[in-house]
């Protein structure tokens, strides 16, 4: 039986100062986040005590070194929606709160975009005339520098990590045909890359290993960072670094939903007869990304060749059978599951028939149609910088400049709900407790992180309230209590009794 797929997305955004290209990205990111936080009533710092990005899921730990950068400790805030907003690796980063369903995680990812839009507007007042901070939701600067959009999923600790790797890799390598964000050209340093006019993924050019602990160099398809931010005896937090930052709501929802379904199937041993093992996963990742016609096949270990769409069909067929046995409640509600399975089938069929019919649904198709349309209309060459500019500007978050916003994409959310989610937590996870405490008692909270809150009640010592189970601290558990108490003191006493 699968455990609930608590999930969320953390995004490192691209950032520039229009009018001052030499601006320092770290101080620019700090200015942006400070501008947003200053507009909020109170601010609570992040607590780093339990961070351990050097612990490996394969069962060992490394000590700094090896290229893993620890946090910069620059600007770090917790929002009342339960999210974390901070500066990481010279980028502004928004880590969504823990969510109970793919559609809820989509909502809180979009709320992160709205936070960035508001932050840009707030920062505009702080900069000299003619300068403006601009934020991009993409993953590459087209010059070989990449930054991530990571997904996180709660996984049963009992699943052997090697099994996760074996049964996930073919899915991860091929899911880009659905959820890639698209890129003009390639940043891969090799002769094969020179013929790539357009590819499915922002990130495929940057992956070098099948499995590993790194996230900033020698990036692996499966990241082994073992930092559960919860009870490590029961849970694993699968940290997925492969994905692109999506703007299309459908793409984000499918990315989260399909991955959650595949993880549940692995937990239940439902993929053991899959019989798909790629001969060269890293090579296949690029081969597939570089072929937007989706016709090319990749080599399997048993000598067969297979198209990415066929691999996806194999996972979908298992998922359709799986739902008959196990239902869909592990996805947090009863509606996401059936809708995801239907959309998965529809999208694969359309990709096989005519991908362009999905220009209103998937990021890479929307971008490709725009780039090709512009190229044909103006009769320009493949390498024309205007096509690269369209690629970048697709991801520009300024409403008036965003090319994505001009496209007739199918929506799943409305602006009112997204706006609500910038300041209110999801009710169904511990993020509810974190966000509500912050909103109610900001002056009594010394620090917060994913699995605890530290209260400063004005008396020594500080009181740490652990939150080791992502499914406790929900509105159902503590909503009544939080509405009843009038002070943090009262709350901590009630919790302790």
């Amino acid at each position: 039986m699968p455990i609930p797929k608590v999930l969320g997305i953390e995004t490192e955004y691209g950032i520039v100062v229009a009018g001052a290209p030499e601006a320092n990205p770290i101080s620019t990111s700090s200015t942006l986040i400070n501008a947003y936080v200053a507009g909020l009533a109170d601010r609570v710092e992040w607590d780093f005590v339990d961070e351990s990005p050097g612990v490996d899921a394969r069962g060992f730990a490394i000590d700094g070194g090896s290229g893993i950068e620890l946090d910069t400790h620059l600007v770090n805030a917790v929002l009342t929606n339960g999210a974390r907003l901070y500066v990481d690796h010279a980028h502004p980063e928004y880590s969504s709160p823990e969510c109970i369903s793919p559609s809820q995680a989509l909502l809180y990812d979009k709320a992160g975009e709205e936070v960035m839009v508001r932050a840009m507007a707030s920062a505009r007042r702080l900069l000299p005339a003619g300068q403006e901070i601009v934020v991009y939701k993409n993953n590459s600067d087209r010059k070989g520098n990449s930054y991530g959009c990571h997904e996180n999923y709660l996984v049963d600790r009992e699943v052997p990590f090697q099994q996760l790797v074996k049964e996930l890799v073919p899915f991860f390598v091929t899911r880009q045909v659905i959820i890639g964000a698209g890129k003009v050209g390639s940043e891969f340093s090799g002769s094969k890359a020179t013929d790539v006019d357009f590819q499915l993924s922002q990130r495929a050019d940057f992956f070098e290993e099948e499995v590993g602990l790194e996230t900033t160099l020698k990036r692996p398809i499966i990241n082994t960072r073992d930092e559960p931010h919860s009870d490590g005896q029961r849970f694993r937090r699968l940290h997925v670094i492969l994905g692109d930052a999506n703007l299309s709501e459908r793409s984000t929802w499918l990315k989260l939903g399909l991955t959650a379904i595949v993880l549940a199937m692995i937990e239940d041993g439902f993929l053991q007869d899959l019989k798909i093992e790629l001969a060269d996963p890293v090579g296949a990742l690029r081969e597939i990304s570089w072929d937007p016609t989706l016709q090319r096949s990749v080599l399997l270990q048993d000598g067969r060749r297979i198209r990415a769409l066929e691999v996806q069909y194999a996972y979908l067929e298992h998922a359709l059978e799986y739902v008959e046995h196990f239902g869909v409640s592990y996805l947090g509600n009863e509606t996401d599951g059936p809708a995801l399975l239907e959309e998965w089938g529809r999208v694969l069929q359309a990709l096989d028939d005519d991908p362009m019919t999905l220009a209103d649904t998937l990021d890479w198709v929307a971008k490709w149609q725009l780039v090709r349309g512009y190229q044909e209309r103006h009769q320009i060459e493949v390498g024309d910088p205007r096509l690269a500019a369209i690629d970048l500007q697709y991801h520009d978050l300024r409403p008036e400049r965003s090319l994505f916003r001009r496209l007739p994409m199918r929506r799943m959310l409305d602006e009112t709900t997204v706006s609500w989610a910038t300041s209110n937590p999801p009710p169904d996870t511990r993020a509810y407790f974190r966000g509500t405490c912050l909103a109610k008692f900001p002056g009594s909270i010394a620090a917060a992180n994913w699995d605890s809150i530290i209260f400063d009640l004005g008396t020594d010592p500080l009181r740490r309230v652990p939150m080791m189970d992502p499914l406790r601290g929900t509105e159902a558990h503590v909503g009544e209590l939080l509405r009843r108490v009038h002070s943090a003191q009262e709350l901590v006493e009630a919790l302790g009794s």
Binding site: E12, Y147, E334, D353, Q369, G373, A389
Partner: protein, 64 residues
């Protein structure tokens, strides 16, 4: 699995995923092309003035 079967069959009232009516694909394809034409008519107004300089100046530090 009786309990799960029941859970699956009971209909939830929370419409978290709004599905709109799908149009037949050929028709939808033509519609999308027409919409694209309109967007291409206006896109130069929002595109960065100097594409070459804009692309050159877009430099990021590597992240995760």
């Amino acid at each position: 699995m009786a309990e799960r079967e029941q859970v699956r069959k009971s209909s939830s009232t929370r419409p978290e995923v709004a599905e709109e009516e799908a149009t037949p694909s050929a028709e939808r394809s033509d519609q999308l092309k027409a919409e694209l034409d309109d967007i291409l008519d206006e896109i130069d107004e929002v595109l960065e003035d100097n594409a070459e300089e804009f692309v050159r100046n877009y430099v990021q530090k590597g992240g995760q």
